[in-house]
């Protein structure tokens, strides 16, 4: 059993598990932090961005000044943003049988895999995952395609040139594999390969293994996966949460008794407690708006935004913000808000019960009804007519490199009254802000990551007790910035196995058993013999028939009646020969009685020696020794076959045959 690790990002995993005869890809996350090296794509012509000076080498060589621009001491690539794909060389991706998706954030690389690697398998995911994943992809494609950029920089990627660049470009890894965004056509094609599944549904893969999605509590439709055969169980935990937010709670019980538990997608900000961060978010939002400033919240169109809107719904009246407009701007804003209301069965119990009242499960419906929350596909069109300040704007993309957020950063960045509040933990907010420097607006970092923290992981592992834990290397040591925080790592026994990008792990357990069925007529013919109270044995002679990874013992063919030579010949071709088997022996030899028996049969001068494993009976006269051990008996005599057979028969007297 092997694990091929194609991504080094702990929360955007992409691993391939070879288990029995199947090849299963676990998630295909897309690392978008690469886009932070690029200049933002402004929706509206930005003189500031277009007038940034080109970058030149220390010696004044300016051959890269078309590709690289400098802003406040940082160098950015002036090109269409590119993404860092999972490793494609480590394993032939066309051999992947299935892809299991755990949540909508972990499927963003799917079109690259399904459309460009010869992949012919099946993808499994829950319905909300697919629908919201589609929205995220649609938004991404839309953000990038609506700001066409003529130029595609590639010169800087040359290894010899990259070496000369300043950090962080110099240290960017695998730049040659970075790719531009996929198209909507590729998205549609990729999504068409997905088979929808429900929680706890058992899916057979070629009869060899069974995969089952379980609720993971992190997002709408988010799942952990169980991959199991009859005797082995691998759990894949990715992006789980034990907090009470909108999704169905995490199913922990089903993860018990795993041989291997692959653990990914823990919180990216282990020191920040989501509740505290929500409080911080609300307080800062209120303080800004009270002073007449605007609040910008760069976010994804689904996920934490639902919880934030719910908190604000309860908070705005108490904070005197009832008259402040909230805008949600995304090409998929409308669909996201509406989808969230229809996936009732995937929601937490509280929200499910609301549906039967009937009420919309999320209170953002009421915010929309009362005109407190308005949503627009983009800043163009209706939005510009309705726009009123001070206001709160939720919009993408959290990397601040594309999407409507770029416009608001340009618009509001110059005033210290305004505030940008980062709630998505995926990007370093300092790096995200780099191309907007110098910036007067206030920046607040309130990352809200509801995924498991290390205390919860430790409790979870105690609860489900897997034999082995496998996790990204980042989880096996404290974060580099807080090297003394030994509590911020996985602490389990035996220590977790860690992996990094482009590594292949041999998972530490051997398969020992395989389930075999016995045909009823064969079972009928068996005659068990009780060898110990409660233990019966029977010998089986049968034909092992294997098809579709199922093994069946069938009755051996009867010796065919001697008929015409032709027919007989054919039969013997098909059916393996059944040899007459020697009987099996069982039982143990009581040494004293055995010696007495030997004496009775005329052997004398018998000596018994005890050894570590049993006894040696020495027949000194006959120069023969009988070695009696727990699982074997040897008669060693010098070329006297008669004697050996005599002795053998005496030994056999003490043993049972069947």
């Amino acid at each position: 059993m092997k694990l091929y690790c194609l991504s080094g990002h702990p929360t955007l995993p992409c691993n391939v598990l070879k288990f029995k005869s199947t090849t299963v890809m676990l998630d295909c996350g897309l690392d978008m932090t690469s886009t932070l090296n690029f200049l933002p794509l402004p929706l509206v012509q930005s003189p500031r961005l277009s007038n940034l000076p080109g970058w030149s080498l220390k010696d004044g060589n300016a051959f890269l000044d078309k590709e690289l621009k400098e802003c406040s001491g940082h160098v950015f690539v002036d090109s269409v943003p590119e993404f860092c794909l999972p490793e494609t060389e480590l394993i032939d991706l066309s051999t992947v049988d299935v892809i299991l998706i755990s949540n909508y954030h972990c499927m963003m690389a799917l079109p690259y895999i399904t459309e460009h690697t010869g992949f012919t398998g099946m993808v499994y995911a829950t319905e909300p995952t697919v629908q919201i994943g589609r929205l995220l992809m649609e938004e991404l494609v839309n953000f990038i395609e609506r700001v066409p950029k003529a130029q595609s920089a590639s010169l800087w990627k040359n290894k010899d040139i990259q070496r000369l660049l300043p950090s962080p470009l110099k240290d960017a890894v695998e730049v040659s594999t970075w790719r531009r965004c996929y198209t909507m056509q590729e998205v549609n094609s990729a999504l068409s390969k997905i088979q929808l599944v429900g929680y706890s549904q058992k899916i057979e893969l070629f009869g060899a293994v069974q995969v089952t999605p379980l609720s993971s509590g992190y997002a709408l439709g988010s799942s952990n996966w169980i991959i199991q055969s009859h005797y082995e169980k691998v759990s894949y935990v990715s992006g789980s949460s034990l907090l009470t937010t909108h999704p169905q709670p995490m199913d922990q019980a089903s993860l018990k008794n795993s041989d291997v538990l692959i653990l990914t997608g823990l919180t990216q900000i282990p020191t920040a407690n989501p509740d505290g961060m929500v409080g911080e978010f609300c307080s800062n939002l209120a303080l800004t708006v009270r002073n007449g400033g605007n609040v910008l919240v760069p976010c994804y169109p689904s996920g934490v935004i639902y919880d934030l809107l719910e908190c604000l719904y309860q908070y705005i009246d108490s904070a005197g913000l009832s008259n402040i407009p909230f805008y949600f701007i995304s090409p998929v804003a409308n669909s996201s808000l509406e989808f969230s209301q229809i996936f009732a069965e995937w929601l937490c119990h509280n929200k499910q019960t609301k549906v039967y009242l009937p009420e919309p499960p999320f209170p953002h419906a009421e915010l929309i009804q009362t005109n407190k929350l308005k949503h627009y596909p983009s800043i163009h069109g209706d939005f510009s007519n309705d726009f009123r300040q001070p206001c709160v704007v939720f919009t993408g993309h959290p990397s601040l490199r594309f999407g409507d957020v770029v416009h608001f950063m340009e618009l509001w960045g110059k005033s210290s009254l305004n505030t940008v509040i980062f709630t998505e933990p995926d990007f370093s907010y300092l790096e995200a802000l780099a191309p907007y420097q110098p910036l007067a607006m206030k920046c607040i970092y309130c990352p809200i990551d509801t995924r498991l923290n290390f205390i919860q992981v430790s409790k979870l592992l105690k609860e489900v007790q897997p034999l082995h834990v496998v996790c990204p290397e980042q989880y096996t040591q404290p974060p580099p910035a807080q090297s003394h925080r030994m509590d911020l790592m996985i602490d389990c026994q035996p220590p977790a196995m860690s992996y990094r990008r482009a590594e292949v792990l041999a998972l530490p357990f051997k398969r020992r058993y395989e389930k075999i069925e016995i045909m009823p007529e064969l079972a009928d013919s068996l005659v068990p013999m009780e060898i110990k109270p409660g233990i019966s044995l029977a010998t089986v002679s049968a034909v092992l028939h294997t098809k579709d990874n199922k093994h069946v013992l069938q009755p051996p063919p009867r010796p065919a009646p001697p008929t015409s030579g032709k027919k007989r010949k054919r039969a013997s071709d098909d059916i393996p020969d059944c040899q007459v088997l020697k009987p099996l022996l069982s039982g143990s030899i009581p040494v004293e009685q055995f010696v007495q028996t030997l004496e009775k049969h005329g052997f004398s001068d018998i000596k018994v020696e005890d050894t570590a494993k049993g006894h040696i009976v020495l027949l000194q006269e006959a120069e023969t020794l009988i070695q009696i051990e727990e699982d074997s008996t040897h008669i060693i005599c010098d070329n006297d076959e008669m004697l050996r057979v005599r002795l053998r028969d005496l030994v056999l007297k003490f043993l049972q045959k069947f």
Binding site: T271, A272, N273, G276, M277, V278, G279, E280, C282, S283, N284, A286, L287, R290, N291, C311, Q314, Y315, D317, S318, A319, G320, C446, I455, Q482, H484, R485, M486, D487
Partner: protein
């Protein structure tokens, strides 16, 4: 006993003795016992029994084999005990062989009823009451009850077991009272048989290998040494002390908690504390106990008045050890010349700290709590290691919020165990607050303020931690030194305030109401103390805090609204209200605050904000707040009108408080107002009472007070009664003869009062003339009313007669309820 009760008693006894009758509930029986106890304490029980033979009959009934309920049996045992507490009555009951029947082997002991814990408890409590005189001791010896008491020490019911232990201590004390008093040298072999038997039993238990038995013996001894300080206890300790000392050699130590209690009880006894061997035992025990168990003993030793210095030092060392470990783990020098210097983290303490999260948090919390208790005591160790303790508290808090840099593996483990531990954070913040009583090196004080700010700022601080952090901050702020020769705040404090105010601002916007509430409470307190300091005023007024606080007057959570009302009242009193300083609108905003508070008083649906408004208004009136003095009468009239309609009695009572302040001011009560307050107009002071009464009439104070006199809530009526009595005392001597008596006005007021007394509403009284009011006041029996109100409202229902009737009615003996039964 009053005749009516005597008349009802036979019926009651019959009911109780009849197993077919359902017995009244336990509370009734408890009340009956309380009543009998009061009667026997007040007079002769013998007489009581002779006058009410039914009681003895009842006790005899219990002896008969029948299925009496367990609670009646228990009741009878306790009742017999109460009566037999008096020796003559005991003899009387003995004549009938009643007592052996109840408490001896022939009694319920060993019978089926004994399985009920309530019967065993009744038996013990009966004996506890009974054993008050020498005859009782003989009785105990004769009927063999002691052995039963011994066995009940291990009873499955904790109440019974504990009562058995206490009874033994009591019997021992009583049996020694006669012979040992005045004979300090009386040796154990000469002790009375009863005492010998108990001591023998205790010795046997102390030698036992079963920890529960040891615990029982230790508990009996703890009670004995705690309650009895006669010389014989010294002999007892001489005899049993070595056995107790033997326990220390066992590993693990049996019954450590009980042992600590006993040793402390012995050490506190004036008869025994001069014993050197005792100090040695205590020192030895300190060494043997685990760090968690040793804490309470160490604290107890340090609280003792006269104890050897070496032992005190050892005990203090035990208390400080966990903190020394923490400091060491963070590589912090304990700081000269701290006491912690000599104490290196003992490995046992380190092991306890690192064994688990709960053990670590438990030990630290207990240690901090013990030191917190010790800090204010006069006998606390000296020199008090203020600096190392401050350092330890700061380090613990830093471990909890993850900002401490661990210096060793131990530090790393501590960091992992304490990170985010709210329990320890709360304890450490409390402790830090206590340490503010004294100052420390400036560098450490700076650290204290910075760690407090970290906690106040951190989004991860839970609501309770924030509250504690605010409290500790307040204590440190108020204890910070004033700049010499200047009444303003010192520069450090000023700097801190500048950083603190934005935090308070953010906390006032928190979505968590508890946090907003703590923020407002802090604001109120700090303004109360520093409202006059220019530095504070400047920082506060340049922040948005006052505006935010005002906005919270409309908070959805009533507690927050109440705190906002208090805070705004305080800010306004100090002239710190949001735009009070703006020259264009002098007092413009202030007025609107008064209007806003009046709105809350009349409209808020919850009681807390309205109560807070009344308190603020009373304070404003007392202090002569500018808005109030502008037109005091109008203000009082509006407030009283609103308060009189309020459904919350506390608001009405507070209205009377405000009325009293107004009254005192109007009538010129000396010292009624704050010396700093703007003095009421001199004219009022000098005005003759008649004119002052006019003012009281104009604000309709009398109508408010008269109505309150018949308020359905007693405290309101009492307060009103006091107010009117005060008024009458102040005014009647000044008024003329009863010229208004019998006038139509007086008649109509009295008629209205009658209606109110009867609970009817009735129309308002309208404008009253002072003469009418005085006449009414004179004619009222206010003293009588005060007497009636002083009795509890349920004094009728609580009477023994009513109790007896209730018990009888419950079983239908009185026949009143028969119509209801089918």
């Amino acid at each position: 006993m009053d005749p009516e009760c005597s008349r009802l008693l036979p019926a009651l006894c019959t009911v109780l003795a009849d197993p077919r009758q359902p017995v009244a509930d336990d509370t009734c029986l408890e009340k009956l016992l309380d009543w009998f106890k009061t009667i026997s304490e007040a007079g002769s029980s013998l007489l009581l029994l002779q006058e009410n033979p039914c009681l003895v009959e009842l006790l005899f009934q219990v002896l008969r084999p029948q299925d009496l309920s367990a609670r009646v049996l228990s009741f009878s045992l306790r009742l017999a005990g109460i009566f037999a507490a008096q020796e003559d009555c005991f003899q009387y009951l003995q004549q009938g062989e009643l007592l052996p029947g109840l408490f001896g082997e022939a009694g319920p002991v060993g019978q089926a009823a004994w399985t009920a814990p309530t019967v065993r408890s009744g038996w013990i409590q009966g004996l506890r009451s009974l054993v008050q005189h020498p005859s009782a001791l003989h009785f105990l010896a004769d009927c063999g009850a002691l052995d039963t008491v011994f066995s009940l020490q291990g009873d499955s019911s904790l109440f019974v077991a504990s009562a058995a232990g206490q009874l033994l201590a009591h019997i021992l004390g009583l049996s020694m009272r006669g012979p040992a008093e005045g004979l300090p040298s009386l040796q154990a072999p000469d002790w009375p048989a009863c005492a010998q038997k108990i001591v023998g039993h205790l010795e046997e238990s102390l030698r036992s290998t079963a920890p529960p038995q040891v615990t029982q013996a230790l508990n009996v001894l703890t009670t004995t040494f705690g309650h009895c300080h006669s010389p014989w206890t010294r002999v007892l300790w001489e005899r049993l002390g070595p056995l107790v000392a033997c326990l220390l050699e066992e590993d693990p130590l049996p019954a450590a908690h009980s042992l600590v209690d006993l040793l402390l009880s012995v050490a506190r006894s004036p008869v025994l504390s001069s014993d050197c061997g005792l100090w040695e035992t205590l020192a030895q025990t300190l060494r043997h106990l685990s760090p968690t168990q040793a804490g309470p003993l160490a604290l107890g030793i340090l609280k003792l008045q006269d104890c050897p210095q070496a032992l005190r030092a050892q005990a203090f060392g035990v208390l400080l050890q966990p903190l020394a470990c923490v400091l060491k783990a963070a590589d912090q020098a304990p700081g000269p010349p701290g006491l912690l210097e000599g104490i290196t983290g003992d490995s046992v303490t380190v092991d306890t700290l690192l064994s688990s999260k709960s053990a670590c948090a438990g030990l630290l919390c207990r240690t901090l709590a013990h030191l917190e208790l010790l800090q204010p005591l006069p006998q606390r160790p000296s020199p008090w290691p203020q600096a190392p303790l401050l350092g330890a508290a700061v380090t613990i808090l830093r471990f909890c919020n993850g900002s401490a840099a661990p210096a060793s593996d131990v530090g790393g483990r501590l960091c992992a165990l304490l990170a985010g531990c709210v329990r320890v954070q709360r304890a450490a913040l409390d402790f830090l607050g206590t340490l503010s009583q004294e100052t420390g090196p400036q560098e450490l004080v700076t650290q204290v303020f910075s760690v407090l700010l970290e906690h106040l700022r951190s989004p991860d601080s839970s609501a309770t931690v924030l509250k504690k952090a605010f409290q500790a901050t307040l204590r440190w702020l108020l204890s910070s030194p004033k700049t010499p020769g200047c009444c303003d705040l010192d520069p450090h404090t000023q700097l801190f305030l500048r950083e603190l105010l934005p935090v308070v601002q953010k906390r006032l916007c928190s979505p968590c109401w508890e946090v907003r509430d703590s923020g407002l409470e802090f604001l109120t307190q700090v303004t109360r103390h520093w409202g006059g300091q220019a530095g504070f005023r400047h920082v506060l007024l340049t922040s948005e805090v006052p505006e935010l606080a005002e906005q919270l007057l409309r908070d959805p959570e009533s507690y927050v609204r109440a705190s906002a009302v208090t805070a705004m009242g305080q800010l306004s009193s100090q002239g710190l209200h949001a735009t009070a300083a703006s020259p264009e609108h002098p007092g413009g905003q202030q007025k609107s605050l008064l209007v806003e508070l009046l709105r809350i008083l009349s409209e808020d649906s919850e009681g807390f904000p309205r109560r807070a408004v009344m308190q603020v208004f009373t304070q404003w009136l007392r202090d002569g707040h500018a808005d109030v003095t502008e037109d005091t009468e109008r203000f009082v009239a509006r407030v009283l009108q609103a308060a009189s309609r309020d459904l919350d009695w506390e608001v009405r009572a507070q209205g009377l408080e405000l009325a009293l302040v107004f009254l005192a001011q109007t009538l010129g009560q000396p010292g009624s107002h704050c010396p700093y307050a703007v003095a009421p107009p001199q004219a009022t002071l000098r005005s003759p009472p008649a004119q002052a009464l006019q003012a009281l009439c104009r604000v309709r104070l009398f109508e408010f007070a008269f109505r309150a006199l018949f308020d359905c809530d007693r405290p309101v009526a009492q307060k009103s009664c006091d107010l009117l009595l005060f008024l009458r005392a102040r005014t009647v001597p000044h008024s003329g003869p009863q010229e208004a008596g019998g006038s139509p006005d007086v008649v109509s007021v009295e008629a209205a009062l009658q209606r109110w007394r009867a609970g009817e509403q009735g129309p308002p009284l309208g404008d009253l003339e002072p003469e009418t009011v005085l006449a009414v006041l004179r004619s009222m029996d206010l003293e009588g009313l005060r007497g009636a109100l002083a009795e509890s409202s349920d004094h009728v229902e609580e009477s023994p007669q009513s109790l007896l009737q209730d018990v009888l009615a419950a079983v239908g003996v009185l026949g009143e309820n028969q119509a209801d039964c089918y």
